[in-house]
Amino acid sequence: MINSIASLLCTFTTPEHIGMDPMSMLWMFPLLAAISLVYKATKMRVLFWDKFFKEAGILFLTTSLFVIFAGVGLFILVQVLTT
């Protein structure tokens, strides 16, 4: 028991390996999900589970699409300016 707790705590003392590739951008999605959940939890007048998850899901998709489109737009702009 103590060993398993110690090994669990050890995972917090060394950083994970995350490459400098485009796949690392996927780390933004859990953060967007967390922001959507907390924002909806504070904003909904009455919190019913089905409506809450639906609205948080819609917010998550909206913010994700916005970030993706913004990224694509910036990528195209950089390509146009540098070629």
Binding site: T14, T42, R45, F52
Partner: protein, 138 residues
Amino acid sequence: MSNKSNSDHAMFLLVVGLLAWVIPGAGHFLIKERKRAAVIFVTIVGTFLVGLHVGSVAVINSKGAGLWYIAQMMVSPGVAVIANITRQGEYLAYGKCSDIGQIYTSIAGLLNMLCIVSAVYMGHSGRGELIGDEEDDK
């Protein structure tokens, strides 16, 4: 009489705000918003722990990353204990994982700040008492 009730109310709001800071979601729990409290606790603590796991405890850096540390402190005063551990040990945080860890832990703190304001506002307007009953009925 009115002054006394006003000061009691102010003290209650102070307790709600402090509790919301010490344990994410506890402020909402105190004003009977139990579902909200559960969502806030799981999401904020989860986000913070993911940040610590990815970047290591060294992302809590009270000396080298002042503004990030202020945001991280909004998760809980317990973050100061982690900062103290980080100062005493030799923990590494570098590269992309350090950035991601710092962003996750700081965003968790900023989200908790939003929740503290929300809990105090709900406590002030009495929404917790009204809506808590509605939630229980469902």
